[in-house]
Each structure stands twice: as structure tokens, then as C-alpha cells.
Amino acid sequence: MEDVKLLGAWPSSFSYRVIWVLKLKGVKYEYVEENLFNKSDLLLRYNPIYKKIPVLVHGGKPIAESIVILEYVEETWPQNPLLPKDPYERAVARFWTKFEEHTSPTFFSFFQSVGEEQERAVKEAKELLRIIEEQGLGEKKFFGGEEIGLADIAFGWIAGWLRTMEEAVGVKLMEDDRFPRLQAWIENFKAVPVIKENLPDHNEMLAYFKQRREMFIGSATS
């Protein structure tokens, strides 16, 4: 059995996606924590295009980009599948996974900007959450149906990271009771044993996010 290595960085939700999927499938791997302010030669060699984590290395061969990694893990270790067998259902799961990627700039802007730019980001972010709840999740327990799937993993940051981001920024996006289905999804997602046991510590993450937020405010207002 070829060895599996994951280059990741705390508390990156992209890193955690791969951890979740490897653990859900019972794949043994070696975790390597990268310092993103001082990237290792290994990372630069394995991901010369983007120089980013996560990178999965299987039998010495690297794969970069978290969703590409997830599809690879799904195909290589088919147990506990994350994608349905039906091609149409697979296309729907991939659509929502891609939609999640489309939301990134808005949530980054929410976290990194101030003033008018942030107000715009707040408005856009709430609209995106509405689309995710009504059209992505709908009446389902998970994006994947009765069990978690690829899209749930992609949206996992909403369950483990969004509240902490809101606290660090001091602005609530998911106001109480405005997103009941998404709130229920968050609780159900966090209750899945592999997810529950593999979430960054809230207080540690809050301290980290507050520090990052100070830095962004500093550079936005200087």
C-alpha cells in the first residue's frame, strides 16, 4: 500500500476538507503542518503552480486543489462514497461544490474589508447563504441527501468556521432564525463523528481570526 501524505495548515478549512474525507474513508496518512509564512521546499516542489495547501501526496505523486484532491480520494478509495452513482446526481453535487468556490471572494471580502466595501460583502454574503439554503439544501438533511457528500464537505466551513469569523469581525451574517434549514444542517454536520472529532478549537481559532482581522483593518485604513 503506497503511503499517503497531506500537506496542510491549521486552521485552513481547505486542509480540514481533506482530513475529513481521508478519515471518513479510513485512509491512513501522514500529516505535515506547513508554515504559510515560510513555505517548505516540499510544498513549493509539490505545488509549483499555486504554492498552496492542501496538497495530497500519494506514493510520491502530488495532487493540488482541494476539490481535485477530494475527487481523487473518492475514486482511489471508493468505500463510504461521497458521490452518488447516478451521473445526474453527481452533476448536481459537483454544481453545488463549484458554487461554494464561487462564494469565496464574497466571504473573504466580508472578513478582510471595512466600510462600504464590507457592507456590500455583508449584503452579498446573505444573498449567497439564502441561495445555498433554499436551492442547494432545500428540504434535505444534507446536500448529499440522507448522508453527507462532496457538497457538504465543501460547505463544511460554514459549520465550523463561519460563526468564529462573525465573532472576530463583529457582524452576524446568519442572524438567529433567518436560516433555519442551514442552522439545522450545521448541527447535523457537526454531529457526524469524524467531523465532530476534527474541528479546530473555537477559542484558538477566534484568537487567530481576531489577530488576522486586526491586520486587515490596519492595512485597509492605513
Partner: protein, 186 residues
């Protein structure tokens, strides 16, 4: 029961052309419906309510959106001929990575370095070729209207474009497309 395939598209779209190419590679019959992007049809708004964009493939009444997702869908459903993705998971990951890269950025300088084999897919046309070849129509436009020679700058890329054009599907679509572009740009 025969498959009903409808493609909602817009003729200059590079993304729509990816789907047309995949359908042609698989030899599939479909109904092409041209969308007026300044006056989108109720069908488009119903089939892609999230983005309201083309291309949208409607297969037996069910919509699939996002060009690369559509191409993968076509490859999975009609898996008996002309595979677009390789069978090896690592090679599939590489193909997905590069196709995603094309979507993120299309730097010409990168592409001229990375072509090792006859096609990005290896010995045969594959997922990455389908993702990128539609942009080669723009190479022709740059040359004709932009007054610079891509052949001089990126000979490997031009050789690859010519190789793709040896495929009937590519050639037919390219001809229609560049003629339409020339007509509209006058």
C-alpha cells in the same frame, strides 16, 4: 426510448463550445437553442435559476449547468466511446487540475511550456484539450485583428491547434465559429 438532448447556448461562448465539442466527440444528436443573453428565455431561467447562464444541457428534461461539469456528465453517461477523461485516477486528477486552471486563468505563456505530448490528454484528445481548444478561436482572432503572430511566439501551441483541427468535430465547429466572428467583427 431515445435520449432527448437540448443545449441552451450562445454562439460566441467559449464555454458553450466546450459542450458542443464534447457532444460532437461522442457523436450525439441534440437540439441547439440559441439564447439571447439580453433577453433570456423562460426555459434558461428555469433550468439555471442560480446563475442564469449558458451553457445548460437538458437531458431528458433534467438540466446540467457549468461547462466542465456538463462535459464530465457527457463523458460519464456516454462512456462507451471517445473517453474524454483518462481511466487512471491520478491522470484524471491532473486533467481536472489543468481544466480548473484554464477556468481560473488563461495565460498564453504558461500553455506554450506545458505541452509535451501531441495533446494535453496524451496521445489522444482529452478533457484538457476540450477545455482549452475553444480558446484557439481567439488565437485566430488575435492574429487577424490584433496583428501579431502566435505561431512565432508559441509554435507548439499552434501545432497543437492544427492537430486538434484534424479532428472533424473541431474543424466543423471552428469553421462555423470563426466565420461568425469575422462576420460580426466586419
Amino acid at each position: 426510448m431515445a435520449d432527448e438532448i437540448i443545449l441552451l447556448d450562445f454562439w460566441p461562448s467559449m464555454f458553450g463550445m466546450r459542450v458542443r465539442l464534447a457532444l460532437a466527440e461522442k457523436g450525439l444528436k441534440y437540439e441547439y437553442r440559441e439564447e439571447d443573453l439580453w433577453n433570456k428565455s423562460p426555459l434558461l431561467l428555469e433550468m439555471n435559476p442560480v446563475h442564469k447562464k449558458i451553457p445548460v444541457l437538458i437531458h431528458n428534461g433534467k438540466p446540467i449547468c457549468e461547462s466542465l461539469i456538463i462535459v464530465q456528465y457527457i463523458d460519464e453517461v456516454w462512456c462507451d466511446k471517445s473517453p474524454l477523461l483518462p481511466s487512471d485516477p491520478y491522470q484524471r486528477a491532473q486533467a481536472r487540475f489543468w481544466a480548473d486552471y484554464i477556468d481560473k486563468k488563461s495565460a498564453l505563456s504558461f500553455w506554450k511550456e506545458s505541452l509535451e505530448k501531441p495533446y494535453f490528454g496524451g496521445e489522444k484528445i482529452g478533457f484538457v484539450d476540450v477545455a482549452l481548444v475553444t480558446f484557439s478561436c481567439w488565437f485566430y482572432a488575435y492574429e487577424t485583428f490584433g496583428n501579431f503572430s502566435i505561431e512565432a511566439e508559441c509554435p507548439k501551441l499552434i501545432a497543437w491547434t492544427k492537430r486538434c483541427m484534424e479532428r472533424r468535430a473541431c474543424r466543423l465547429l471552428w469553421k462555423i465559429h470563426t466565420r461568425s466572428m469575422a462576420l460580426s467583427w466586419g
